[in-house]
């Protein structure tokens, strides 16, 4: 993992003191709310329905146990005992006091964390593959590039006041686990003739005008990557619209001038930028790269380790996975559903689902956050990841330790075996918390998860990504849902549109609206109806999305509307 050097720490510490002074002046009436609002937003502090909300950055979703414990401490000390992991791989606290905010940022700074780049028209927190450094299908570790982009983008003088916010994702595998082509810039690390480089996609996004990013460059060598991204930003910064917030994102610019013309201008700018020497010195790149070296994996046949903490103690007999496998069906189901292939023999990637039946997607209590930190420290080389699907990953767990990990998770309500199943729902905070929302998202997610609570039923439905947004801004990624739900305001009441056929994976597609919307209970019935159509129509081995793509919208519309 990346560790701050003295410059990183000085920057973050200075920012805390700057904000402390700004808050002091606001509370003393020396600056107005209009003057203060952009300053607090630059530090991730929003005013939501019930209180201030603080969004803390988790760069490319990666953190260690010390940082995770600090997130728990903040939940306990300054909030109401929980946090909400977001679709941007960050965490939000919903009950923050303005007067506490400087102290919170100071606490975060002690563990190399902050809330910079979580709001405003800047380059936001870089997102990435939650399996980075562990995935069996990885070409190169995207965290190195995500970290480089983080350092380049933080307080970048040209790009701190862009026409609109700007989101970048970096992946290093063929499988896209980061919705890369639904970002303003998506970078896929690839190798060509043994040379590492990036395939560049620009102009994707969700929101009110969803678009899939077109490929702008099929290959940029790693040495040129940063300069090329700089050129992409410069063209946007020059021509992106500042007169209309709804047309200010880069996707609109590229849609209006065309990918070919945008590409031509980027190439011209790149030729100029390359002459400026912006790419990192070799020594700096090597410094960053060294921090992402693989951990010291142990031999696959090393005995398992029981887990002991103040909260949970696994039985002393739990020393091997084979006996446990035979004894516990719940564990088997969890292992089959929530673990993924690791590039290192004898290891697995564990996804901790924050989607218990009837729970709030992405929420975790301070105690659960602490437990996940303990497990990371004990079993995963001190690393955790936050996923854009609002789950937590332990990236490097020995297969022999899976049973002990599962036991600890299960005792804390953190072992739903539902990764990528219908109850693994992405949901934005919606109208229960968010001042932009038009409808509540969380109750709909809870009702759907409860309707489909039966594990066998979920597994029979197979991979089914259901995503709910409470407004057109699409924080819940409804455009990318195999089943998407968009909450709207219909004459003062909540109404829910149903969408089908979206994907945020390597087969990226945008979901289409089925027809007229439904009320809160109606949308739950509608989801069940479309799953029944899938079950009736599916061919051998087809996922919901595959069947939809084969048979089209009509059978689903017919079942929904007659």
């Amino acid at each position: 993992m990346y560790k701050y050097d003295q410059y990183d720490q000085q920057i973050v510490d200075a920012r805390v003191e700057e904000f402390r002074d700004q808050v002091k002046r606001r509370l003393a009436g020396q600056i107005t709310e209009d003057q203060f609002k952009p300053l607090r937003l630059m530090n991730g502090l929003y005013l939501q329905l019930h209180a201030y909300m603080l969004r803390v950055a988790i760069p490319y979703g990666t953190l260690d146990s010390r940082q995770m414990r600090m997130l728990a401490t903040i939940a306990r000390k300054y909030d109401r005992g929980y946090g909400h992991f977001t679709t941007r791989q960050n965490i939000q606290y919903n009950w923050i006091k303005l007067s506490d905010a400087p102290d919170i940022l100071a606490d975060l700074a002690t563990v190399e964390m902050h809330a910079i780049q979580t709001s405003g028209n800047c380059i936001r927190n870089i997102s990435s593959d939650q399996y980075a450094g562990a995935a069996a299908d990885e070409v190169a570790d995207p965290r190195i590039w995500a970290e480089l982009l983080r350092q380049w983008s933080t307080f970048h003088p040209e790009f701190s006041y862009l026409p609109r916010k700007f989101k970048i994702a970096v992946i290093g595998a063929e499988e896209d686990r980061a919705a890369m082509r639904l970002h303003d810039i998506g970078i896929q690390l690839v190798k060509r003739d043994g040379v590492l480089g990036g395939r560049i996609y620009v102009g994707g996004g969700m929101g009110r005008t969803p678009m899939i990013a077109p490929e702008i460059k099929d290959f940029v060598t790693a040495d040129d990557l940063l300069s090329y991204v700089e050129a992409c930003l410069r063209v946007y910064n020059r021509y992106g619209r500042r007169d209309n917030i709804y047309k200010a994102r880069i996707k609109i610019l590229i849609h209006e001038i065309g990918a070919d013309d945008y590409r031509r201008q980027v190439e011209e700018e790149f030729a100029h930028v390359k002459s400026l020497g912006l790419d990192p010195p070799k020594a700096e790149f090597e410094r960053i790269t060294a921090m992402f070296a693989p951990p010291s994996f142990v031999a696959a046949d090393t005995p398992a380790t029981p887990f002991v903490s103040s909260e949970v103690e696994t039985p002393a007999s739990a020393t091997g996975v084979s006996t446990a496998l035979e004894a516990n069906g719940d564990f088997q189901a969890w292992r089959a559903q929530n673990t993924a292939a690791h590039k290192q023999p004898g290891y697995a990637i564990v996804t901790i689902s924050l989607k218990p039946t009837g729970g709030i997607p992405g929420d975790a209590t301070a105690e659960q956050i602490d437990l996940m930190a303990d497990l990371a420290e004990r079993y995963s080389f001190d690393e955790l990841r936050v996923t854009h699907a609002q789950n937590i990953v332990l990236p490097h767990v020995r297969k022999a330790d899976l049973y002990a990990v599962w036991q600890a998770l299960d005792a804390a309500g953190l072992a739903p075996a539902n990764l990528d199943l219908i109850s693994d729902i992405i949901a934005c905070p919606g109208l229960d918390y968010c001042s932009l929302a038009n409808a509540r998202s969380i109750p709909v997610a809870q009702k759907i998860a409860t309707r489909f609570a039966d594990q066998n039923r979920q597994r029979d439905l197979g991979e089914l990504k259901l995503k709910i947004s409470g407004c057109i801004n699409a924080c819940g990624h409804h455009h990318a849902g195999h089943i998407g739900i968009l909450g709207v305001d219909k004459k003062g009441t909540e109404n829910y549109q149903l969408l089908l056929g979206g994907s945020g994976a390597e087969d990226t597609s945008l979901a289409k609206i089925t027809g007229p919307g439904f009320d809160e209970d109606g949308i739950v019935d509608a989801v069940e109806t479309v799953t029944n159509v899938y079950l009736a129509k599916r061919a051998e081995g087809e996922r919901f999305l595959d069947t939809y793509r084969r048979v089209g919208m009509e059978p689903f519309k017919e079942a929904l509307y007659g």
Partner: protein, 98 residues
């Protein structure tokens, strides 16, 4: 009726204008008629409220009920966490929002 609402500056708590001061309980809110904006200017200037705005509401035997669901959510708290609302002892309080 018209209500004036906003947030407490240091805490962010939701506030309602009672006619003479601010309350955290919508039941205490009073009809501001057409005086909402002028009250808001004075109160924001004195930093007794932040982001004040006027909303429509109806008078009910239980007190004012904001016309829009968003303000009813603000008045009570998140419907998905009854324990964090202003009426934690009443799990059914969320039905007032819907």
């Amino acid at each position: 009726m018209k209500l004036l609402t906003g947030n407490d500056l240091p805490t962010g708590d939701v506030l309602w204008w009672t006619g003479s001061t601010w309350s955290r309980h919508v039941e205490d809110a009073g009809d501001v008629g057409d005086r909402g904006e002028s009250i808001a200017r004075v109160e924001e200037g004195a930093r007794r409220v932040n982001g004040a705005y006027v909303i429509d509401a109806t008078a009910t035997p239980e007190g004012p009920r904001p016309a829009h669901i968003k303000d009813r959510v603000r008045a009570l708290g998140p419907t998905v966490r009854p324990d964090l609302t202003l009426k934690p002892a009443d799990p059914a309080a969320g039905s007032w929002v819907i």
